[in-house]
C-alpha cells in the first residue's frame, strides 16, 4: 500500500478471509444482540410454566410441547393460516406476476399502473378493515342491504348469493384470504417487476432471433431467470400470510368460533388471556420450526427447477 511496512500477517490468507467476514459483522452483531439473546430466552421459557409476572418460574421440560401436539385449536389455527397462505401463493402471486409482466412491456399508462398497484400496501390496516367491513356487512335497514356487496347482488337479481359473509363459517375465512391477497399483491408486484428489470434484454432479442414466440420466450427465458426472485417472493408470501393477524382482528374481531383463528392470535391468547407465557413461547418455537421446514421445502423445489 505505502512505504510503511505492515506486519506480515496482514497479508496472510487467514486475515484475508477475516476481512471477508468483516462485511457481515455489523449485521451479525446486531442480530446476535437483538435476536439470538431474546430467542434463547423464548426457547428457555418454552420449557417453563410462567405467568409473565411472578419472579419465579417452574421448569416443566418438554411438557408444553407435548400438550401443544394435542391442542386441536392450535392445529386448526395452523390449517386456517395454511389456507390463507395457499390462496395467497396462487391467487395473489399469479395476479402480481401477470401485472408485473404487463407493466414490464411497453404499454400506455404503465407509470400510472405502477403507482396505483402499490396503494393497498400503503393503506393502513384500520382503513382496510373499515372499508371491507363496509363492503361485506350483512344487515338490512328499511328493506335495503347496507353492505355494498349484498346491495349490488340484490340489485342485479342474484338474491340467492346474498350472504352474511363474515359470520358464515363457509365464507368468513375465504373473505379474509381474499382481502389479504388484495392488500399484499403490491409487494409481489414490485419485487417481480424489479426482478424482470434485471433480465438482460439481449436474451429476449436472442430468443426472438431464434424464432421463439412469446409463450416460448416466457417459458424458456423469463421463468428460468426469475426462479430466484420467485423463490424470495414465495418465501415472503408464506411468511406474511402465516403471520397474518391484524387484518383478521380488524375484520372479524376475536374471530368466528375457531373458523378464523390464526397462529399469532393463539399465541397472543395464550400470553394475554391465559397468562401462560411458557406455552405461548412453545407455540412460537413450534410455529417457527414449521415455517423453516416449509421454506426449506420451497428452496429444494426451486433448486430442482433451476436444474431442469
Amino acid at each position: 500500500m505505502n512505504a510503511i511496512t505492515k506486519p506480515k500477517f496482514l497479508y496472510s490468507k487467514g486475515f484475508d478471509t477475516f476481512k471477508n467476514f468483516l462485511f457481515t459483522l455489523p449485521a451479525v452483531s446486531i442480530f446476535t444482540i437483538f435476536y439470538i439473546l431474546p430467542f434463547y430466552f423464548i426457547f428457555n421459557l418454552s420449557m417453563h410454566e410462567w405467568n409473565g409476572i411472578s419472579p419465579t418460574m417452574t421448569f416443566v421440560g418438554l411438557e408444553n410441547f407435548a400438550e401443544l401436539m394435542g391442542d386441536e385449536i392450535w392445529w386448526k389455527s395452523m390449517w386456517n393460516a395454511a389456507y390463507i397462505t395457499l390462496i395467497a401463493l396462487t391467487l395473489q402471486n399469479m395476479v402480481a406476476f401477470a401485472l408485473a409482466l404487463a407493466c414490464d412491456r411497453d404499454i400506455r399508462m404503465k407509470k400510472f399502473y405502477r403507482v396505483v398497484f402499490f396503494i393497498p400496501p400503503v393503506l393502513s390496516e384500520v382503513v382496510v378493515g373499515l372499508i371491507w367491513r363496509w363492503i361485506l356487512e350483512a344487515g338490512k335497514q328499511g328493506g335495503e342491504y347496507y353492505g355494498l356487496l349484498n346491495y349490488y347482488l340484490h340489485k342485479i337479481g342474484l338474491v340467492s348469493l346474498v350472504n352474511d359473509w363474515l359470520s358464515d363459517p363457509e365464507t368468513a375465512l375465504s373473505c379474509i384470504a381474499v382481502v389479504h391477497c388484495w392488500k399484499g399483491f403490491g409487494w409481489g408486484f414490485i419485487m417481480l417487476l424489479a426482478g424482470l428489470q434485471t433480465i438482460d434484454k439481449q436474451l429476449y432479442e436472442a430468443a426472438r432471433v431464434d424464432g421463439a414466440n412469446s409463450w416460448q420466450t416466457f417459458k424458456n427465458v423469463t421463468v428460468p431467470m426469475m426462479v430466484p426472485v420467485i423463490l424470495v417472493v414465495v418465501i415472503l408470501t408464506v411468511l406474511g400470510s402465516m403471520q397474518v393477524f391484524v387484518l383478521v382482528m380488524s375484520m372479524v374481531g376475536q374471530g368466528l368460533v375457531y373458523h378464523t383463528d390464526v397462529p399469532v392470535l393463539r399465541i397472543l391468547s395464550a400470553m394475554d388471556g391465559t397468562k401462560r407465557f411458557g406455552y405461548a413461547c412453545a407455540m412460537g418455537v413450534n410455529f417457527g420450526l414449521i415455517l423453516i421446514m416449509v421454506s426449506v421445502f420451497f428452496k429444494i423445489i426451486s433448486n430442482r427447477m433451476k436444474q431442469a
Partner: protein
C-alpha cells in the same frame, strides 16, 4: 477508495457516539414529580388538565404518560420484569393477574389510607367500585386481605332501546321479560327493523350477556360452584342459559353478523338506528352522542327468563389505578389519587368524559341517560368481585360456544358438553 472507507467509518462512529450519548443521558429523579402511566386515549387532555390543577394547588408535578390500549398490558408486564414500573399505573386485566402483581410485590396496599379518618375516603366512593380492588378474607389467590387500588370511574353494561323504532313497531314500553321481548321482536320484524345489536366480535361481551342470564337462572352460589368445579356445565341450568341464545337466534332477534361485529360497528349500527336494541356499556353515552346527537334511547335490564333470582348486570370500577410498592414517592402518589377522587375533580372528570364518576357525591350533574345507568349500580356484579373465576381457556370455549349456537352450528347440549370437557382438562392440568 479511501474516501469511501473514511465516510463509512465516520458514519459508524457517529452512530455509536450518538448511541452512547443518548444512553448516558439518563433521566434524573425529581422528588416532586410523580409519574403515572395510563391507557385512556380519549381522556388524556382531561387528565392533563387535572394534573396541571394539582400542580397549581400543591406544587407536585404529575407526569401523565399515555400508551396505546393495545400495547399497555405488554408494556406493564415487561416493565415489571425490568423493575421500571412508574409510581402510578393500572392493571388492565383479570383478578388473577392483579393478584400476581401483588404477590410479586409490585403493588402497594392501600387499606390503611382508605380507613383513615373513620374510612372517609372509602365512604366517598361507590362500594362496588372499591370491591373490584379489594381482596377478601380467605380469597382463593392467597393475597393478604385489603384494598390495593383506587377506582376513578365506574361503568356498567346494560341493554338500550331506541324509543323511535319501538314506537314505529307499536310497542308502548320496553320489554321486561323474555316473552315480552320476543313479542317485541316479532313486531319489529313485521316493519323490517332488526332486533338486538352488540359487539359480540369482542367475545367478552357475549360472555357477559350469558353471565347475566346465569345469575337470573341459577343465582350466584351455583355459578361459583361451577367455577370451582363442583357443578358441571352440563347441568340443566347451564343448558337453560345456552338455550336463551338458541331461542333468541331462532326468533331472529339478533342483527345479522352479530357474532363477528366489533363493538365500534355495533355502536354505529345502533346510532344509525339500524337496530332497536343494543347491549353496551355506559361509555356508549359519549359514543352515541358523538355519532348521532338526536338519538332517543332508554336504558333497560336484559329481559328476564325466570323470577327465582334477580337479573344482575356486569359493572363496577371502569378504571382503577394502583401505586408502585417500591416507589420512593409512594405517599405523593397516594395523595394525588386521593385528590383525584375528591368530589370536585370527579365531577369535572365525569362531565368532560361523560363517564360515571367513582365518587358518589359527584353524581349531581350528569346527563339523564347516564343517570339511568347510575341507578342500576346496585344490580351490578363483576368477575373481579367473585370468589372464584373461570380459567381463560374455559371461558374462551364458552364464548366461542355461544357463537356456535347463534350461527346454528351446534346445539346447547353439544356446547355444554364441550365446555365441560375443556373445564376438566384445565382442572387436570392445574392439579399437576
Amino acid at each position: 477508495m479511501k474516501t469511501i472507507n473514511r465516510i463509512f467509518c465516520l458514519c459508524l462512529c457517529l452512530l455509536v457516539t450518538a448511541g452512547l450519548l443518548s444512553s448516558c443521558a439518563q433521566k434524573e429523579e425529581d422528588p416532586n414529580t410523580v409519574v403515572m402511566w395510563h391507557w385512556l386515549t380519549d381522556r388524556q387532555s382531561v387528565l392533563q388538565e387535572l394534573a396541571d390543577r394539582y400542580k397549581d394547588e400543591t406544587g407536585i408535578t404529575v407526569k401523565m404518560e399515555l400508551f396505546a390500549p393495545t400495547a399497555y398490558s405488554q408494556r406493564i408486564i415487561a416493565s415489571a420484569q425490568a423493575k421500571v414500573l412508574p409510581d402510578i399505573y393500572g392493571i388492565l386485566d383479570k383478578k388473577q393477574t392483579f393478584a400476581s402483581f401483588i404477590d410479586s410485590g409490585y403493588v402497594a396496599e392501600l387499606t390503611e389510607e382508605f380507613e383513615k379518618d373513620n374510612g372517609a375516603w372509602e365512604k366517598s366512593l361507590f362500594e362496588k367500585a372499591i370491591n373490584v380492588n379489594r381482596f377478601e378474607e380467605g380469597n382463593v389467590y392467597d393475597v393478604k386481605p385489603g384494598i390495593y387500588g383506587v377506582p376513578v370511574d365506574v361503568t356498567n353494561t346494560q341493554m338500550l332501546y331506541n324509543k323511535k323504532l319501538l314506537a314505529k313497531a307499536g310497542i308502548a314500553k320496553a320489554p321486561e321479560t323474555m316473552d315480552e321481548f320476543l313479542v317485541a321482536i316479532e313486531a319489529l320484524k313485521r316493519v323490517g327493523i332488526s332486533g338486538l345489536v352488540s359487539g359480540w366480535g369482542e367475545s367478552w361481551m357475549a360472555g357477559a350477556f350469558a353471565s347475566n342470564y346465569a345469575f337470573n337462572i341459577m343465582g350466584e352460589e351455583k355459578i361459583m360452584a361451577t367455577y370451582k368445579g363442583d357443578v358441571p356445565y352440563t347441568d340443566p341450568d347451564w343448558i337453560k342459559v345456552f338455550r336463551v341464545f338458541q331461542r333468541l337466534s331462532q326468533a331472529g332477534a339478533f342483527i345479522e353478523g352479530i357474532v363477528t361485529k366489533p363493538n365500534k360497528f355495533a355502536e354505529q349500527d345502533f346510532a344509525l338506528e339500524r337496530a332497536a336494541f343494543a347491549y353496551n356499556g355506559s361509555w356508549c353515552v359519549n359514543v352515541y352522542h358523538n355519532m348521532n346527537p338526536d338519538l332517543e334511547y332508554g336504558v333497560m335490564l336484559p329481559p328476564a327468563v325466570e323470577s327465582d333470582y334477580p337479573m344482575l348486570i356486569w359493572g363496577g370500577a371502569g378504571t382503577s389505578f394502583v401505586v408502585n410498592a417500591s416507589s420512593e414517592k409512594k405517599q405523593k402518589a397516594i395523595d394525588f389519587l386521593k385528590w383525584f377522587t375528591e368530589k370536585e375533580q370527579q365531577a369535572y372528570f365525569s362531565k368532560e368524559t361523560r363517564n360515571l364518576p367513582a365518587n358518589k357525591e359527584a353524581l349531581a350533574s350528569i346527563p339523564e341517560v347516564l343517570e339511568d345507568f347510575a341507578k342500576m349500580m346496585d344490580r351490578t356484579t363483576h368477575p373481579t368481585i367473585w370468589k372464584y373465576n373461570e380459567d381463560h381457556v374455559v371461558s374462551e370455549k364458552f364464548e366461542k360456544g355461544l357463537q356456535s349456537i347463534i350461527i346454528g352450528e351446534k346445539t346447547p347440549e353439544q356446547v355444554a358438553q364441550e365446555v365441560q370437557e375443556a373445564k376438566e382438562r384445565v382442572m387436570k392440568r392445574q392439579a399437576r
